[in-house]
Amino acid sequence: MKNRRRNTLFFIILAGTALCSVTLAGGLLYEGAAAADFAQKNLPPCPAHPFGTDWMGRDMLRRTLAGLSLSVRVGGLTAAVSAAAALVLGGAAAAFGGWVDALISWITDLVMGIPHILLIILISIACGRGLWGVTIGVALSHWTSLARLIRGEVLQLKGAPYLQLARRLGVSRGRLVKNHLLLHLMPQFLTGLILQFPHAILHEASVTFLGFGLSPEQPAIGIILAESMGYLTTGRWWLALFPGLSLVGAVMLFALAGERLRLLLSPATAQD
C-alpha cells in the first residue's frame, strides 16, 4: 500500500509550484504577448512557436501563458473573496440563528436561483463590464455552497456536548471560537477555498469568452478562444486546441489538489 498522505502533500506542493511558475512566466511575458510580427502569421505549431501563431503573427504560447497568468490571478482573488464571504455569512447564520439565519438562507437561495453565468453577466454589466466587472461578478456569485457547508458545520459544533460543557465550565466565548471552532472549520474552509478556484477560473474564462470581460487586446484565455472561433472552419485548429488544453490543465491541477485534500481531511475516507 502506498502512503497516500505523503503523495497528497507532494502533489499539492507540485501543483502550487506549477501554478506559481505559470503566473510568474505569464506576468513576465505580458509585454511580448501582444507583439505582432506579420512575417510569422498563421504558423502551425513548430519548434520556434510550439503553440503556433495567429493572424497577427503573435506567438500563441506567450499569449496563452499571459492569459493563464491572468486567469490564475483573477481566480485566486475571487476564490479568496468568496470563501471569506462564505465563512462570514455561513458562520453568522449559524451563530446568531433566528432572523439573521433566515435572511442569510434566503439570500443564499436567491443567489442560487440564478445560474452563475447569468448572474455574472448581470453583475458585470452593473459594474460597467471590464476586468473588474467579471472579477466582482465571479466573487459575488460563488460563495453560496461553501456558506451552506460552513453553516452546517458551525451548527453541528454549537450542539456538540464538549463545547457546551466547556461553556458551562466558564471558558470564554472568544477562546472557544479561537481554539475549537476555527480549528475545526479550517480544513473545511481550506478545501472549500481550493475547490472554489476551478469554478472561478472557468467562469471567468466563460464570461470573457462571451465578450463581457476584457477588451480584445488584453491576453485572456476567453478572448483567445473567442477569436479562434472565427478560424475554425479554415482549419487553424491550434488556435483553439492548445490554449484550451492549458486552461483545462491548470483547472485540473487545482481540482485534483482540492479533491485530495478533501479526501484526506474527511474522517470517512482518511483511512482508505
Binding site: 436567491l110 445560474p115 448581470l122 453583475i123 466563460s206
Partner: protein
C-alpha cells in the same frame, strides 16, 4: 394530506418571495449599470440631431427622471399581467421573444437534462460499486476532466472534430441555412441539436456522477448493506444501492437545472443556436435590459420550480414522509 397541502403552499409562498427578490436584485443591478437609457435605445448619432424638447420627451418616455422604486413597481405590475416590457434589440414584447427562444431551447435543454441524469446516475453507481478499482478510477478521472473543461471549449472541440474534420454534422444553427422554418424536417432539427445537446449533457453529467458516487459509497458502507452481504444477498446494487440513492439523485437531478441552463448560454453561443441562452448573451452585450431582466426571471422560475418539484417528489418517494404525512 393536509400536511402535504400546507407544505406545498408554504413552498409556493417562499418561491414567490424569492422570485420577487430575484427580479428586484436584477432590476437594481441593471439600474446601477453605467448605461444611458437614451444612448442605448436610440443611438448616439440620432441623439445628436434632436432638439431639447424631443430629448425631454424621450427622457420622460424612458423614465430617466423617475425614481428606481417607481420604475420597478411599474415593471412589476406589468410583469404580473404578463407584460415584461419591450425588447430593445428585437423591437417586440419581451414575453413574445422569450417564448419563441424558449421554444427553440426547450428540447435541447430537456434532452440534455435527461441524458445528463441517466448517464450521471449510472456512472456514479458503477464507480461507487467498484470503489478503488479501475472502473472507479476511470469514471472519476473522466468526470474530473469534464468538470475542469469549460463547456464552450468542449463545444469548440466537438465542432472541430465532427463538423470541420469529419464533416458529418452541421456547423450550427437550429435549422439549415436558407430553409424556411416551416420546411424544416424533424431529422434536420435533431441533427442540428445533436452536438449542442451532447455537449450540455456531458458537461452536466460529471457533477451528478461524482455526487452519486459519494452517495453510493456511503450506502455501501452502511449497516444494512453489511447485513445484506452477511445474508449472502445477490443483486445488492439494484435491490439496495439504487433504491437508496434515489432520493439524493432526485435532488441532484433537479438542482442541475440551473447548471444546464447556464451551460446552454455558452453552448448556444458556440453553435449559433438561436435559443434562450443566445438571447441572454445578445441582450447583455446589446444593453437590452428589459429582455435580460425577463430572461433572468424566467430562468429563476425554472430553477425554483425544479426545487419545488424535487421537494414534492420526495414526499412521494420517501416512505418516511409519505407514511408520516398519511398518519399526521
Amino acid at each position: 394530506m393536509r400536511h402535504r397541502l400546507q407544505f406545498t403552499i408554504k413552498k409556493l409562498v417562499r418561491m414567490a418571495l424569492l422570485l420577487l427578490g430575484v427580479s428586484l436584485s436584477a432590476f437594481l443591478l441593471m439600474d446601477a449599470a453605467p448605461l444611458d437609457p437614451l444612448q442605448t435605445n436610440i443611438g448616439q448619432a440620432a441623439l445628436g440631431s434632436m432638439s431639447p424638447e424631443q430629448l425631454a420627451r424621450l427622457e420622460e418616455y424612458w423614465g430617466v427622471n423617475t425614481p428606481a422604486a417607481e420604475r420597478y413597481l411599474a415593471w412589476l405590475s406589468g410583469a404580473l399581467r404578463g407584460d415584461f416590457g419591450v425588447s430593445l434589440l428585437y423591437r417586440r414584447p419581451v414575453a413574445e421573444v422569450i417564448s419563441l427562444r424558449l421554444g427553440a431551447s426547450v428540447w435541447l435543454l430537456l434532452s440534455a437534462w435527461a441524458l445528463a441524469g441517466v448517464l450521471g446516475l449510472t456512472l456514479g453507481v458503477l464507480a461507487g460499486a467498484n470503489r478503488g478499482r479501475w472502473p472507479d478510477l476511470l469514471i472519476r478521472a473522466a468526470c474530473l476532466t469534464v468538470s475542469s473543461t469549460p463547456s464552450f471549449w468542449l463545444a469548440l472541440l466537438l465542432l472541430m472534430v465532427f463538423s470541420v474534420w469529419l464533416g458529418i454534422l452541421p456547423i450550427g444553427l437550429a435549422v439549415p441555412i436558407g430553409t424556411a422554418a416551416a420546411d424544416v424536417t424533424l431529422p434536420q432539427r435533431l441533427l442540428h441539436a445533436l452536438l449542442p445537446a451532447l455537449t450540455l449533457s456531458v458537461a452536466g453529467m460529471a457533477n451528478i456522477a461524482l455526487h452519486t458516487r459519494e452517495k453510493a459509497v456511503d450506502v455501501l458502507d452502511s449497516d444494512y448493506i453489511f447485513l445484506a452481504r452477511a445474508r449472502g444477498e445477490r443483486h445488492i446494487l439494484i435491490r439496495h444501492v439504487l433504491r437508496n440513492v434515489t432520493l439524493p439523485a432526485i435532488t441532484l437531478q433537479f438542482a442541475s437545472i440551473g447548471e444546464i441552463i447556464g451551460g446552454s448560454v455558452l453552448v448556444e453561443q458556440v453553435f449559433s443556436y438561436p435559443g434562450l441562452g443566445q438571447a441572454a448573451v445578445a441582450a447583455g452585450l446589446g444593453g437590452d435590459l428589459p429582455l435580460l431582466l425577463g430572461i433572468t426571471v424566467i430562468t429563476a422560475v425554472l430553477v425554483f420550480g425544479g426545487n419545488l418539484a424535487a421537494d414534492l417528489l420526495y414526499g412521494v418517494v420517501d416512505p418516511r414522509i409519505r407514511r408520516g404525512a398519511a398518519k399526521g
